[in-house]
């Protein structure tokens, strides 16, 4: 009996030894900071003092016009980026998956390259493309005798430029996942539908789309989470301007924390955004996962 407990204890210890480095890293760099983030958001932290202020930071957010704009923009980013990414990557994947393996892998590569190449590089090239004086975008307009546009400095246009750049790096991963999932659908489903006289469009909606449902859920959730975190493109292309039309919650959070040293206010922003993302993800799972079988 004693030897059996000893043996099972030893088994436990071996397991714990293997996971110890991971547990330690997770505890220190993921769990502790998330608890700390919530705690800080109830304090006022300045270089000289730390004082408990209750909900004051959150009350400040309610009155903060810039935060309101940033929050609205963030949802606008999500509403543009997620559907476009989803539709585009699904469309491309269906087109590409009927090709030979070589061609499929070529296109997969092409659409994934912006996601691997550093965001900084891609953004810098785009900022040159959009440059009002020497950018190629205005040269293209001039070919059609259109007047030049100050792409990244015009309210109403800058936002869509940023979305375009972001889309180039959000579609890569969904296309890889979709082409893999499409490859897993048995051919005879389509052959049977063909015999029954179902059109290609009908086949897409009755066979392909339902069978891709788990993949689609995955794509929607990861794209939404990423779209909520839009930062690099904004920082590198527009710095949130013109007149805050391209700013996002993360961009303002970064400004508050690392430009104005307003750590506690920034933390409150982070917590609010986290709650928003949580709520959205919850509803996505709730309503989309219903027809998904695992």
């Amino acid at each position: 009996m004693a030897s059996r407990t000893w043996r099972s204890l030893k088994k436990d210890l071996v397991g714990y030894a293997f996971i110890a480095p991971a547990v330690l890293a997770f505890a220190v760099f993921l769990v502790y900071p998330s608890i700390e983030a919530i705690r800080i958001s109830f304090y006022k932290i300045t270089p000289t003092q730390v004082a408990f202020v209750g909900l004051q930071n959150y009350a400040g957010l309610l009155k903060d016009q810039v935060f309101g704009i940033a929050l609205a923009n963030t949802f606008k980013y999500v509403l543009f980026i997620v559907p476009i990414t989803l539709a585009f990557s699904l469309f491309v994947s269906v087109l590409v998956s009927s090709k030979s393996e070589r061609v499929t892998s070529f296109y997969r590569g092409v659409f994934y390259i912006p996601a691997v190449a550093s965001v900084v590089s891609v953004s810098l090239v785009w900022s040159w493309i959009f440059n009002p004086v020497i950018g190629i975008a205005n040269y293209l307009l001039s070919l059609f005798h259109l007047p030049p546009v100050n792409w990244l400095a015009m309210p109403g246009i800058a936002f869509y430029c940023v979305v375009l750049v972001i889309i180039t790096w959000t579609v890569g991963r969904p296309i890889i996942v979709y082409t893999a999932a499409l490859g897993g659908i048995p051919k005879y489903y389509y052959e049977a539908a063909e015999i029954d006289g179902a059109s290609k469009v009908r086949q897409f909606f009755s066979i392909t789309l339902p069978l891709l449902a788990p993949t689609t859920l995955y794509v929607i959730v990861i794209t939404t989470i990423n779209a909520f975190q839009t930062f690099a493109a904004i920082n590198l292309l527009t710095s949130g301007g013109p007149s805050k039309t391209t700013t996002s919650v993360i961009y303002e959070l970064y400004q508050q924390a690392f430009r104005y040293n307003n750590f506690s206010y920034a933390s409150a922003m982070g917590v609010v955004l986290f709650l928003m993302v949580g709520i959205v993800a919850f509803f996505q799972f709730r309503y989309l996962a219903r027809d998904v079988e695992y």
Partner: protein, 282 residues
């Protein structure tokens, strides 16, 4: 009937062609920025202003690269990026495969609970952790150091998840046989698991290398001094400081993107595997 059939074949041919054209146009749009940045990096300042733009570098020059080397610490930034990416990659792979093995094949109390808690941290967004992590770095005196750039990155839930999923597919009989032969758990891990899990480790390694090369936000916060900047941070700062011309910025952008593109083209299979391994349900 016959007519309708040929008509539908014709129509499907037209659709097929339209699809091909669409794909080709998109491919060009997606690749163009890379081509344009590369071409721009070899253009003289005067050529940058040419109208119509020079789509091929008519008088290619290395002056942008030379100026970049002379005026900035670009070589040091490149080195920093390499150090940070390699170190992050090695540490994440080591930690993840150890934990992945334990979660997949060992039995111990609380195993599944701990695993699911770990995986649930995937939902924690980085931006919430930014401020507390930054303060932690200050407390540890890791601000503006390699440790600060590397160590907080090693908690990678995706890595643990991926390794566990893969190691689960390794037959337990192999492990049992090795144990009967007197192999210790550490021996099993090194001699059986690691060799068999090579494809997954490879995929994870490449993934982490690229991710950490491109970890713009964290590096932006932690790299305070010129000498600790990574390549993307250094190059991005050139734009914000308005110190250099577009040609030099394109040279920097090329230096930063090219290694990733080469790695990607060389190891595309690993990327695909990594992404699909992460996406399938467990």
């Amino acid at each position: 009937m016959q007519g309708r059939k040929t008509l539908s074949i014709k129509a499907s041919k037209v659709w097929r062609m339209a699809g091909d054209v669409f794909l080709a146009v998109c491919a060009i749009l997606w690749l163009f920025p890379f081509y344009w940045g590369l071409v721009g990096s070899f253009k003289t300042e005067r050529a940058m202003f040419a109208i119509p733009p020079e789509f091929l570098p008519l008088n290619p020059t290395l002056v942008n690269y030379i100026e970049l080397l002379r005026k900035t610490h670009v070589a040091r930034w490149f080195f920093n990026s390499a150090v940070v990416s390699v170190a992050t990659m090695v540490l994440v792979c080591a930690i993840s495969s150890l934990a992945g093995y334990a979660f997949a094949k060992l039995r111990f109390r609380g195993r599944d609970l701990i695993f699911y808690l770990m995986i649930s941290t995937m939902m924690l967004p980085r931006y919430v952790l930014l401020v507390p992590l930054f303060r932690l770095m200050l407390k540890l005196n890791w601000f503006d150091t390699y440790a600060g750039l590397i160590i907080p990155q090693i908690a990678a839930p995706f890595g643990v998840f991926m390794m566990r999923q893969f190691i689960k597919t390794i037959p337990s009989e192999l492990i049992e046989a090795a144990r009967i032969d007197g192999c210790s758990e550490a021996g099993v891990f090194v001699k059986i698991i690691l060799p068999l899990a090579k494809p997954a480790v490879g995929a994870l390694a490449i993934f982490e290398f690229v991710r950490s090369w491109d970890d713009y936000m964290w590096q932006l916060i932690i790299a305070g001094s010129e000498m600790m900047k990574t390549l993307p941070i250094g190059i991005a700062a050139l734009k914000q400081e308005n110190l250099v011309q577009y040609g030099q910025m394109m040279a920097g952008a090329t230096l930063s993107a090219l290694p990733m593109i080469i790695i990607f083209v060389a190891f595309q299979r690993y990327f695909t595997r990594g992404i699909t391994l992460g996406a399938v349900k467990g």
